[in-house]
């Protein structure tokens, strides 16, 4: 039986489910809506007594931000219940939120964080420096997210409202890290019971967690004592788990759901034709083909570039109906990011050029590509890609892997040749690129090692001004294109389908609990 549940999460070629905690624990766009800008419908238009039911395609396994937070459902629930120290995404620089100020020291090796006043957790625990330290330490030891905070050497409470964080190397992107999963603040009292913390999230957000009926739904209700100005627009919000795509769409059409998330373009088309709202959240991850840079053939940049150049992305886009997905970027930075820079040498579709590179390499190229058993369209898309490779003389054999563990083991032990993989995109290129491309990076499964890339990534990490960082990352993107450590296919996107009554569907990478509302009748 195909692993239906994972077919959504792992489809390295077609579409990608939300990846809240990116590979290597880097920050990503959770809890990004600072809601201080007026992109949200005015409260006066919304019926504040309304309730809403949203259909999700998967159920979270845990509601602990230091635990397994990979599912789209996590992002949606966290957006309502939790908040982060900073807020930001890859379209704008981060701004303080639960942190009042964040200041870098003169020697750039530490940051001083002053905590926001008057904030309490849903269970009454005050939010203070001790709570910040507690959370950061917790995140540092998390097997899921810990590697994102490796650069931190110490976290100290200076006074009840001030925390000092010491780093190993200067880290300009640090405020950005605090806007992602590593900066989520959980009530220390609630985390005392390690089992309870997974099932009873207590945060500072506009909603409080009310109940989680497994395999059925999660219910959030408005936090009337919310410290911020942007109160929740709904009296309660129910996230219903409806794994089957047909059933979820049927429920939306029949009026049992106010909104749903989907990654299937046929559902989007049908909802569009029936007059539903389609909301396009920003990108949070990408499907790719990881190449083991230590294997024969794949250790040569010419071969890797040839693999890229022989794929006709436009044809794939049409055939597999990627419905507006970005297939053009070719690097882990999507075209919608402000950090994107067009490469100096793009590897455009050019089979003859690919053949020339292979002729230059001189030896036959043969390898196995692994794919986790999943949706048929993923299998078909990969088959099409393998066919493109065949046309330029590269022989790739597809190996279907039936279970997630075998698949993951093959990648992290470096046993694989090539694999259809997915990765998360952080809100800052430091998160997206460092862990995956730096020599020795915790999620550098392609075992890529290039001194120029290391230099560019180090500079991007530590350079104090944005202009220098932009230049460094432009260089990194150029290097990516010329070295092609792995092949980025699509920056997948989730779609939100909603009735016309739903408001506040702006700028969120998941269902925006913080801003969603219903029009008053």
């Amino acid at each position: 039986m195909s692993a239906r549940r994972f077919s959504r999460v792992v489809s390295g070629v077609a579409v990608l489910a939300l990846f809240v905690a990116a590979c290597g624990g880097s920050s990503s766009s959770t809890d990004t809506s600072g809601s201080s800008d007026s992109t949200v419908a005015a409260a006066a238009d919304n019926d504040l007594t309304a309730t809403m039911t949203v259909g999700l395609d998967s159920e979270p396994s845990s509601l602990d931000p230091a635990g397994d937070s990979l599912s789209l459902a996590n992002g949606s629930v966290y957006d309502g219940v939790f908040e982060t120290l900073m807020v930001g995404d890859y379209t704008k620089a981060p701004t303080p939120w639960l942190a009042k100020t964040v200041t870098e020291s003169a020697d750039r090796l530490s940051w001083t964080l002053v905590v926001q006043d008057g904030v309490t957790f849903h269970d009454g625990t005050p939010f203070d420096a001790a709570a910040v330290k507690f959370n950061l330490e917790r995140q540092r030891v998390s097997p899921y997210n810990g590697s994102g905070l490796k650069n931190i050497t110490a976290v100290d409470v200076v006074d009840p409202m001030t925390v000092k964080i010491t780093l190993a190397v200067a880290w300009t992107a640090f405020p950005n890290v605090l806007s992602g999963i590593n900066g989520v603040m959980v009530s220390p009292a609630s985390a005392a019971d390690p089992e309870k913390v997974k099932r009873n999230p207590v945060g500072t957000g506009p909603f409080q967690f009310t109940e989680w009926i497994p395999s059925d739904h999660i219910l959030l209700t408005r936090n009337e004592a919310y410290w911020g100005e942007n109160k929740a627009q709904l009296a309660s919000l129910t996230y219903k788990f409806v794994t089957d795509e047909t059933a979820r769409l049927t429920a939306l059409i029949a009026g049992d759901l106010d909104a749903m998330t989907t990654i299937v373009s046929a559902s989007v088309k049908e909802a569009d034709s029936k007059g539903f709202q389609i909301s396009i959240p920003p990108v949070s991850g990408y499907g790719n083909i990881h190449l083991n840079n230590k294997k024969p053939g794949l250790d040569d940049a010419r071969v890797r570039r040839a693999l890229e150049m022989s794929i006709d992305r436009d044809a794939l886009k049409d055939a597999f109906d990627y419905f507006g997905y970005d297939t053009e970027s070719g690097t882990p930075i999507s075209m919608t990011s402000r950090w994107y820079s067009a490469p100096a040498t793009a590897n455009k579709f050019d089979p003859e050029g690919a053949k020339a590179l292979l002729a230059d390499y001189g030896k036959p190229v043969k390898f196995t590509i692994e794919l986790l058993q999943g949706s048929q369209s993923t299998v078909d898309a990969l088959a099409a890609i393998v066919d493109y490779w065949k046309q330029v003389g590269i022989e790739a054999t597809v190996k279907m892997v039936p279970d997630l563990t075998t698949y993951v083991v093959s990648v992290i032990t470096g046993a694989y040749d090539a694999v259809a993989w997915l990765a998360g995109e952080g809100s800052d290129p430091d998160s997206s690129l460092f862990a995956m491309l730096h020599t020795g990076g915790p999620s550098n499964y392609s075992v890529f090692s290039n001194p120029d890339m290391d230099a560019a990534l180090d500079e991007g990490r530590s350079a104090p001004d944005e202009a220098t960082r932009m230049a460094a990352y432009a260089k990194a993107q150029d290097l990516f294109h010329s070295q092609m450590p792995f092949i980025v296919l699509t920056h997948g996107q989730v779609r939100i389908l909603a009735t016309q009554d739903v408001t506040g569907l702006t700028q969120a990478a998941f269902f925006p609990s913080r801003t969603a509302g219903k029009k008053a009748k």
Binding site: M1, A3, R4, R5, F6, V9, V10, A21, A22, C23, G24, G25, G55, S61, S62, D64, G67, D68, L70, V141, P143, Y144, N145, G146, S147, P194, E195, K196, V197, K198, R199, I213, P214, S215, D216, K240, F241, V242, T243, D244, T246, A247, R248, T250, A251, I253, A254, D256, L257, D403, L404, T405, T406, V408, V409, I412, W421, L422, P442, S443
Partner: protein, 319 residues
């Protein structure tokens, strides 16, 4: 009855075998459960951390015995991945799965028994052949095709029934039943096909037996013979088959549960298995095994009481 004592011992042996078999099979699978838990965010460091917390450094037998001694007391442990108390989780889902099991069996029998009687009354004739063909068709249609078809017709087009709105029994029986109509139909149609075949074939054979010949000679009408005498003995075979379907309907209806978003044991077990959540898998398998063994014990006892042939056969066996 000493026979009963022996049966209980047998049951215990079956349960031990099932529990141990599941545990050690899962344990033998390549790759540590830590990787299944961490998934694509696994790093060598993270794996080491999780393994330590899971106590995977202890030998398997010790871990199994710890789990086993707790399980006997009703403590099925807590999932590392999501902190769910396994016994509680199963207790929440069991009523749903059990209700579906009962309703499906009842509906399948309500369809199959009259149909089988109707067909067996005139074996080989047109009505028999028509019903037989229909039953084969019902068995042949894949579960998900049946489920999706019903969903599209009745939930989407006609909107008579909800697509994804399961209502538990304690929130209102009408709404509960309404939310179960489509899944139960999806499951009972193919099952009714199987039951039809079993009963019809058994009836036809019985009707040809010596015992029935004698009854016929006594002057009873065909209808009475069929309903009173043949059905009596053939229904026992059917009863045995009904019992055997218990495990399948409890833990094996994953596809139906997925399609209709039902919080049942099938999904629970499948999700746990794919995530290598050993604690949850063990708990679910044990509960299903206990139910299965209990149901079949009851069936066996009923057979012994009602079926003279079985009773007669056991007279000769040493007690």
């Amino acid at each position: 009855m000493r026979g009963l004592g022996q049966r209980f011992l047998q049951m215990a042996a079956v349960l031990l075998l099932v529990a141990a078999g599941t545990f050690f099979l899962l344990d033998l699978m390549p790759g540590s459960p830590a990787i299944a838990i961490l998934g694509t965010s696994a790093t060598p460091e993270g794996i080491a951390k999780v393994e330590a917390e899971l106590g995977l450094d202890k030998p398997s037998v010790e871990r199994f015995l710890t789990w086993g001694t707790n399980a006997v007391r009703g403590d099925l442990g807590v999932s590392y991945r999501d902190g769910e108390n396994v016994a509680q989780a199963i207790r929440q889902r069991f009523p749903t799965s059990f209700e579906i099991l009962i309703l499906t069996q009842l509906l399948a029998l309500s369809i199959a028994v009259p149909a089988a009687l109707f067909a067996a009354a005139r074996p080989g004739k047109r009505r028999d052949r028509a019903l037989s063909t229909t039953s084969f068709a019902l068995i042949a249609i894949p579960q998900f095709v049946m489920a999706l078809t019903l969903l599209i017709i009745f939930a989407k087009q006609l909107q008579w029934f909800p697509a994804a709105d399961f209502v538990p029994l304690n929130e209102g029986i009408i709404r509960n039943l309404r939310s179960l109509v489509l899944p139960v139909l999806s499951l009972s149609f193919p099952l009714s096909g199987i039951y039809f075949q079993v009963l019809r074939n058994d009836l036809v054979t019985t009707m040809l037996s010596d015992h029935i010949m004698r009854t016929r000679a006594s002057g009873f009408s065909e209808r009475i013979i069929l309903l009173k005498y043949a059905l009596r003995s053939s229904s026992l075979t059917l009863l045995a088959v009904v019992g055997l379907n218990t495990a399948g309907l409890l833990g094996g209806v994953l596809i139906i549960e997925q399609i209709y978003s039902l919080p049942g044991l099938g999904r629970f077990l499948f999700d746990a298995a794919t995530r290598r959540d050993i604690v949850k898998v063990e708990g679910a398998v044990l509960v299903i095994a206990v139910t299965y063994v209990t149901v079949n014990l009851i069936v066996d006892m009923l057979l012994r009481v009602f079926d003279p042939r079985v009773r007669a056969a056991s007279i000769g066996t040493p007690r």
